[in-house]
């Protein structure tokens, strides 16, 4: 999977590394600001702190 990704990328090694770093940054950003808040919201009522009937 990751080997295939490496082969698909064009250019010399340093260009590929650069592209991978940019991709990684984009993925981390999407996780932190969209995906994780969404999961957090899904699991919101699980860890409750209130007393309730």
């Amino acid at each position: 999977m990751y080997a295939a990704l490496w082969h698909i990328l064009p250019g010399p090694v340093w260009v590929r590394i650069l592209i991978l770093l940019v991709l990684l940054a984009a993925v981390l950003y999407a996780l932190a600001f969209w995906v994780f808040p969404w999961i957090d919201d899904l699991t919101a009522p699980v860890r409750d702190v209130t007393v309730d009937q």
């Binding site: 999977m1 996780l31 932190a32 994780f36 860890r47 702190v49 209130t50 007393v51 009937q53």
Partner: protein, 271 residues
């Protein structure tokens, strides 16, 4: 000299130079991809935990601090008269007030999820400052990293019980140190009218169904209240939440806005 160098047969060399076999078996390829997916899933889980307990906590704490600042700034600039006392049934006898500045005023009930007060607890951290919003709904209130007010309970300063809840294992963990309160610790609640000073008195551990802790007289339903209490609730044990940890305080002082904030939190209030 060395045997290893010379003893290698000459016909091995070309074999080593041969390009590695490109074709892998289908099974081997599928297993390989599956393994990479598993590793990726593991990394994602770790990232999520890191986000939840670190990055998200920091962002929520910053948001809380700036919300509290803008609330305090609004209150400082508005010179409106104190809000009319909410009409709540009170069994309070008309007695000379024990407070320096007389009877504490009572806020009208705020709208749902509206931030109406700021909580300061020096024991939780020298810069501890969180908003208190109406209601204890996780999504609209508690997961914003502040505290929520049980809307069935009294308002700050009222005779009865001002009960609030907050997280202690994520979402900024505002009540992380609720179990470290010591008798005599101050708990300050700032509203538009001024500062209510509560003094921590005791703790209790109950089941998640222990609603008696937010009664006007805790664990004594139907009794008519005399004290002005604050009740903090959160989950216990940390990260498991099979119980609730409860901290009680009693109102010992109140300071109108015109008199300025209590000395202990003077550096924290306002913007």
């Amino acid at each position: 000299m060395s045997e290893q160098g010379d003893s290698a047969p000459a016909d091995i060399e070309p074999a080593r130079m041969r390009p590695r076999q490109k074709k892998r078996g289908m099974v081997s390829r599928v297993v390989g991809v599956f393994g990479e997916l598993l590793i990726t899933a593991g990394v994602l889980v770790l990232l999520f935990l890191g986000w939840q307990f670190s990055l998200n906590g920091i962002m929520l704490s910053n948001q809380q601090a700036s919300d509290a600042d803008s609330l305090a700034q609004n209150w400082a600039t508005q010179t409106a008269a104190p809000t009319p006392t909410a009409t709540q049934p009170s069994a309070e006898p008309v007695a000379p007030s024990t407070f320096q500045y007389g009877e504490p005023p009572t806020l009208a009930t705020p709208g749902n999820a509206q931030e109406f007060a700021i909580l300061y607890v020096p024991r939780f951290g020298s810069d501890f400052k969180k908003t208190i919003a109406e209601g204890v709904d996780p999504r609209s209130v508690l997961n914003n990293g502040g505290a929520g007010h049980y809307s069935t309970t009294q308002m700050p300063g009222q005779v009865g019980n001002f009960a609030i809840a907050a997280h202690r294992d994520g979402w900024g963990s505002p009540f992380l140190k609720i179990n470290e309160l010591q008798v005599g610790d101050q708990i300050y609640v700032e509203t538009q009218d001024g500062w209510y000073t509560y003094t921590y008195r005791s703790s209790e551990y109950v089941t998640p169904y222990g609603v008696g802790v937010i009664d006007p007289v805790p664990q004594n339903p139907g009794a008519s209240p005399v004290d002005r209490l604050i009740t903090l609730t959160s989950c216990n044990p940390l990260y498991i939440a099979s119980e609730r940890v409860i901290a009680y305080g009693v109102l010992t002082d109140w300071t109108p806005r015109s008199a300025g904030p209590p000395a202990a939190i003077a550096g924290l209030t306002g913007a």
